[in-house]
């Protein structure tokens, strides 16, 4: 290799990608100025699910913590918001980061317990924890017990008198939170912890023997994910204005759908979950009147993707065209020859 070779994360496609992201963010920021309430509601839904998908992928795709119990934190966020606004009288938008903090603190002892289970047993263990949350919520009568509660009108109106104003508030908060989560995950992945995560993902044993504190790294990811998931949960139920134990801690709504999005879009890549969320909403808008059949089709597509292309749509595009939207992969570039990348960090097939 010549002395002029350098290591870079940037590539032509990632430069284009960053410009595209900047343009898209600016365009999305302008939406409240011209869009209808219905359009904003759809976009809010997409943002919320895209954020959940990115968070689940961060947990499962990068740290290998395959959780089917993330609804625990969605419901905790929702109930936290309802409790803090109605019982403590705090403003709803202030409650969003507060419930995130509550969930992050609560997730530490939960993680210490669940980390005793490995692999697939961790998955079911996380589900048990979510069920404990759901069954406990049924017992809390001040928050409506089994039938749940509605957010009083005066609290909903505190973020905007007219429905349109409320949509604008929730829209901008959700968009901001989604961008914050994306930037947060991006920064973690580029940090030392991100390097450790990549090593753990590829081979946990050799990561451990290289001196990486595997449990600590996984704990960080688990807590950060709980923090983000609970904030998203708070926004979901601020938007819905009503919560019940079955809705808040629904495994189908907050975990099954999210897993399908990530699997279809691409597990273990930064861009995959966002792509998966967009594909999901495209399918939902075109065939949502099919009822249960719709979920059957989604499950079958996810199984098909897992068997045929385990890295999902984005994995396929990346392998086929060598593209990346976000500068994350390290590559060696030979400047003297100014040639195409000689080799890339690649991910072994999952």
């Amino acid at each position: 290799m010549s002395a002029s070779a350098t290591i870079t994360r940037s590539s032509r496609s990632s430069q284009v990608g960053l410009i595209f992201i900047a343009v898209a963010a600016a365009a999305l920021l302008s939406v409240p100025a011209w869009a209808s309430n219905d359009a904003m509601r759809l976009l809010i839904d997409i943002f919320l699910y895209a954020a959940l998908a990115c968070l689940w992928n961060f947990l499962a795709g990068y740290a290998g913590l395959v959780s089917v119990g993330q609804q625990a934190y969605v419901g905790l966020g929702g109930y936290g918001l309802f409790a803090l606004t109605t019982k403590a009288g705090l403003p709803p938008l202030l409650c969003v980061p507060l419930v995130g903090l509550v969930a992050a603190v609560a997730s530490i002892p939960i993680a210490m317990l669940l980390f005793r289970l490995r692999g697939a047993y961790f998955a079911i263990g996380s589900w048990v924890v979510a069920e404990v949350f759901r069954l406990s919520a049924i017992l809390i009568t001040p928050l409506g017990g089994g039938s749940g509660m509605s957010l009083p009108a005066r609290i909903a109106q505190s973020i905007g008198q007219a429905p349109h104003d409320r949509y604008v508030s929730v829209y901008l908060t959700t968009l901001g939170l989604l961008l914050a989560i994306l930037i947060g995950i991006f920064l973690v992945l580029r940090s030392r912890t991100g390097l450790a995560l990549t090593a753990i993902r590829d081979n946990e044993l050799s990561a451990r023997s290289s001196g990486i504190d595997v449990d600590r790294t996984k704990l960080i990811v688990y807590v950060v994910t709980a923090f983000g998931t609970a904030m998203i949960g708070a926004l979901i139920f601020l938007q819905r204005l009503r919560i019940s134990p079955d809705a808040g801690f629904s495994v189908n709504d907050w975990t099954a759908l999210v897993i399908f999005m990530v699997v279809i879009g691409g597990v273990g890549s930064f861009e995959g979950p966002i792509l998966g969320a967009l594909v999901y909403f495209f399918l939902r808008e075109t065939m949502s009147n099919l009822g249960p059949i719709y979920l059957i089709v989604l499950g079958a597509v996810a199984i098909g993707v897992m068997l045929i292309e385990p890295l999902g749509l984005w994995g396929y595009l990346r392998a086929r065209f060598g593209m990346q939207f976000v500068p994350l992969q390290l590559r060696v570039v030979d400047r003297a020859a100014s040639a195409a990348p000689k080799f890339e960090e690649t991910r072994p097939t999952a």
């Binding site: 395959v66 005793r116 692999g119 048990v128 404990v132 495994v251 099954a256 249960p292």
Partner: protein, 288 residues
């Protein structure tokens, strides 16, 4: 006092059922390190298969087992060879996500075919028959049958695993799949048989449960969780440990339910988490 004894006895009986959920789960984990998230939904599926058999052929639910058990064995063999075998070897993600997808497909398929209505298998006189031990303690014949069948299934499984050629091949692929293949075993076929056996046990448990309690398409995940909790409480060392785990879970749930029905399932989960906190290798695992 007598009432408490009664409560505990009922818990022990239900524990036999939980143990059967758990054994199917533990068997496939032992043989191929696979955790099947659709396990609970397959329990419910077997109850619906029995429902069709009893309704169309007019069979008693217990007689319908003659059909349901082989059908579920076949279902297990086919999903193993068609789906799970393609995901084994390496990462935990693919088998987990494929079984999760299967779980959602079965649940919604049943919902589409049978609606969300509660169902129950009618077993006539057996449902109410009981053995009276004292003034306070009476044992239903059906729960007693569950426990007896659980013990019989475990005994038969132990015999199969340690005394037969099939059991030897299960243990061989579990110890080292590559060497097993070198020795002439067809691993894919052995895995298929293990999943078939797991679902045959599931069918037995599913039908017994469906006589005792209402079921609907959404009840699968709870069954999976009960089975899983029994496995972890008992420790992964032996099926008798799993039976003990199921019985402990049954007793905890039964006692909690007698205090307040709202606590029944929650108490079982908390007992599981307590075991995880205090003795993560399970209560009955031999220290080595």
């Amino acid at each position: 006092m007598g009432e408490w004894i009664n409560t505990i006895v009922q818990g022990i009986m239900v524990g036999g059922l939980y143990a059967m959920f758990a054994i199917g789960l533990a068997l496939i984990f032992g043989v191929m390190k696979l955790v099947n998230i659709a396990h609970g939904d397959l329990i419910v599926l077997s109850a619906y298969v029995a429902l069709i058999a009893t309704q169309t052929l007019g069979l008693n639910p217990l007689v319908s087992l003659v059909l349901v058990v082989p059908i579920m064995f076949l279902v297990g063999y086919l999903i193993q060879r068609g789906l799970f075998n393609r995901t084994l070897g390496g990462d935990v993600l693919p088998p987990l996500l494929v079984s999760f997808g299967l779980s959602v497909i079965i649940q919604n398929g049943l919902l589409q075919l049978f609606s969300a209505d509660n169902r129950r298998l009618q077993a006539g006189a057996l449902e109410v028959a009981s053995v009276r031990l004292s003034d306070a303690v009476t044992i239903g014949l059906l729960p007693l049958l569950q426990l007896a069948l659980a013990v019989a299934v475990i005994g038969a499984l132990q015999f199969l695993l340690y005394r037969t050629a099939l059991g030897r091949s299960f243990r061989a692929v579990s110890d080292d799949p590559r060497i097993a293949q070198l020795m002439g075993l067809n691993n894919r076929h052995v895995f298929g048989l293990a999943m078939g056996l797991s679902l045959a046990i599931v069918a037995l448990a599913g039908v017994l449960l469906a006589i005792r309690a209402n079921f609907d398409p959404a009840t699968g995940p709870t069954r999976l969780i009960f089975g899983f909790e029994a496995v972890i409480i008992g420790g992964l060392s032996s099926f008798w440990g799993t039976l003990a785990g199921g019985i402990i879970l049954g007793i905890v749930q039964s006692v909690a339910a007698s205090i307040d029905p709202g606590y029944q399932i929650l108490a079982g989960h908390l007992a599981f988490l307590a075991v995880l906190a205090i003795r993560p290798t399970g209560l009955f695992r031999r220290e080595s």
